[in-house]
Symmetry: C2
Subunit: 373 residues, 2 copies
């Protein structure tokens, strides 16, 4: 393999949907790093066309843009002879699916280690621009021997993003709300990850365009987002219905003012959100009642379908494990009582396996009525 | 209207699916009563053909059978000039649908009262061959002035049926498991209903063929059936999945023997069934743990879709109110804690309204995100 020496750091984006393409473009904007991308469904189209066409609230109309390098798979990227300093993962995080996170990044980590095996000043910095809690532990096996420093380190950086950006056609991106990303080490005590988080922000932040802020304790922000993602997300996925309808289709009870209570809010979402707060609290993270009000109302009147609902409707596996399964593991460990979240989870487990059956990932024998592996 | 005088009692069957046709045939078998039927989807076919063809485990092959009278609607039946002594209702019981029980039977009750207004020896005896609890109260308004005895009484009889009989084509009935019906007054203290229950059994029971037993306290049997109908029914409807898959698709946890626990059973169904037992107990009905085991296992390995699941899949309104809503009203009144049943109910309320929207029974305005009446 020809090893390409470069002076600028190399960033690889894995996952080029609406979020990934904006991330790639943001990193390339000031030309401070080389940007590569693993492109799946758009690969053939992209290589044979002049590039992405992006309508962006942050960058205006961007026509015919391409990353510096394009690969059809992580394996191909790992064979390119490039040390990828930053791997930004923007795929969905589905540990129970056929390509869990560790399998996705492993080829790149291995090629970094093999080809630069004694370049101990370099590290493979994996930026997980994904939702959910405890997602970084899927990469623990890569950092076990970090302190021995016999090969380039692997370090884990958290990215929590507020953005509305959608792939609306082949290489066609519609980016509607300001990219606002919060970056920081998963482990606040991890010096290297702290340092690399700041370096990544320097590459990503484009003044006057997007927002990229450092956060020394990202877990708080992750818990806060779970108020929405562990409750409204699975509810809408179970109902296969936008949140507005889920709300309006509840039993209604008149309030003392002219309004009414919906059972969806009063009997499912509020108590389930309170359970999320209790789990976070059991870890020392104090979420606010105002967060519940914010997430209850943010998308109530816009017929919005959260990602888990869209996935369920499209027979795609959902992020059930990281959005709801992992919080419940913490609840169990800490003795937090979470009957509603557990019910949502146990119902969603059935739905997730229904999707797995439809995708041929599991088989159900109707004669014995058993799942056959 | 010509008033037809008859010496035998008249029975009218409303609802001629698999269950209703067998009921009609059973009543006609010994020719002890005249049997009329309100036939909806099969009406044209039935009037232009030689009759029903029934393959029955109780009666063998029955070819070209017709009830004595056939009507296309209850209104038509009410104009026939017949006093219907027994109205056997075998439709689904959906109080929140367009044709609730009181509307279904009202034309017949009115015609009985108007045309025989001083025949105080006769009574309109309504036999509800339907599942659920507190269904008889939908008819309370008809029996308010029963004690004044100024017009023929209305009395309410409960029928709880164990049967497997399906309409498999136009006027084609496949009756697979022995008809076993338990008959009794909804109110054990109601002397007239007691007496009329026995009379109905005399008409319905055909020795050597079917089973028809008197039960002086039908509520126990209704509660017992709710162990299944308030839990497995809504679960499978929410998942739109047969019970076997719902069971097998749960998270599995190894047991000390070679088997495993399914989260569907351990975390949803067993606790929800225990809640049904607690509600029944709060009314003085002592269900047994063995009932739970029976219902958990009865249909576990036959890929069976309960009625609520079939209804949801076919965009038909489900019996949510009588199978789950009414039990929860009793729980609330008696202070019984039922978090899992409530969650199943509140999720099913969303599903029921989704079905209503699809059937045009409610309208949702996507601009305002409100249900418009």
């Amino acid at each position: 393999m020809t090893i390409i020496q470069q002076t600028k750091p190399n960033a690889l984006i894995i996952g080029t949907g609406g979020v990934g393409v904006i991330a790639a473009y943001s990193l390339s904007f000031q030309n401070k790093c080389n940007v590569s991308a693993v492109v799946r469904s758009d690969y053939d189209y992209l290589t044979n066309s002049s590039g992405y066409n992006i309508t962006s609230c942050d960058y205006g109309k961007v026509e015919n843009w391409k990353p510096d390098n394009i690969y059809s798979s992580v394996e191909k990227a790992s064979e390119a002879g490039i040390f990828f300093d930053y791997i930004a993962v923007t795929t969905k995080n589905i540990p129970d699916g056929p390509t869990p996170l560790d399998k996705i990044v492993e080829p790149i980590i291995n090629s970094n280690i093999i080809n630069w095996d004694h370049d101990l000043d370099r590290s493979t910095n994996i930026v997980l621009i994904q939702n959910g809690i405890d997602i970084e532990h899927q990469l623990d096996k890569f950092s076990i021997d970090r302190n021995t420093r016999e090969k380039p380190s692997v370090c884990c950086i958290s990215g929590v993003q507020l953005i509305c950006s959608t792939r609306v056609g082949k290489c066609l991106i519609d980016h509607k709300s300001k990219d606002n990303i919060i970056i920081g080490p998963f482990d606040p005590k991890d010096k290297l990850a702290n340092e690399k988080s700041h370096e990544f922000i320097d590459l990503y932040f484009n003044e006057g365009h997007n927002m990229a802020e450092f956060d020394k304790d990202v877990r708080y922000t992750r818990w806060r987002k779970l108020i929405y993602n562990a409750t409204i997300n699975p509810l809408t996925a179970l109902a296969e219905l936008d949140y507005s309808r889920c709300y309006e289709f509840g039993d209604k009870e008149k309030r003392s003012d002219s309004g009414y209570y919906s059972s969806t809010e009063q009997k499912i979402l509020r108590p389930a959100m309170a359970e999320v707060m209790c789990i976070a609290k059991s870890e020392g993270y104090e979420l606010q009642q105002s967060d519940i009000e914010f997430f209850l109302n943010e998308t109530k009147y816009i017929c919005y379908k959260p990602s888990m609902c869209v996935d369920a409707e499209n027979n795609q596996l959902t992020e059930l494990v990281v959005l709801l399964g992992n919080p419940l593991k913490i609840a169990k460990k800490n003795g937090v009582y979470t009957p509603l979240l557990e019910m949502l989870y146990n119902l969603m487990v059935i739905k997730q396996n229904t999707i797995k059956e439809r995708r041929g990932l599991i088989k159900f024998d109707e004669k014995t009525c058993k799942v056959i592996a």
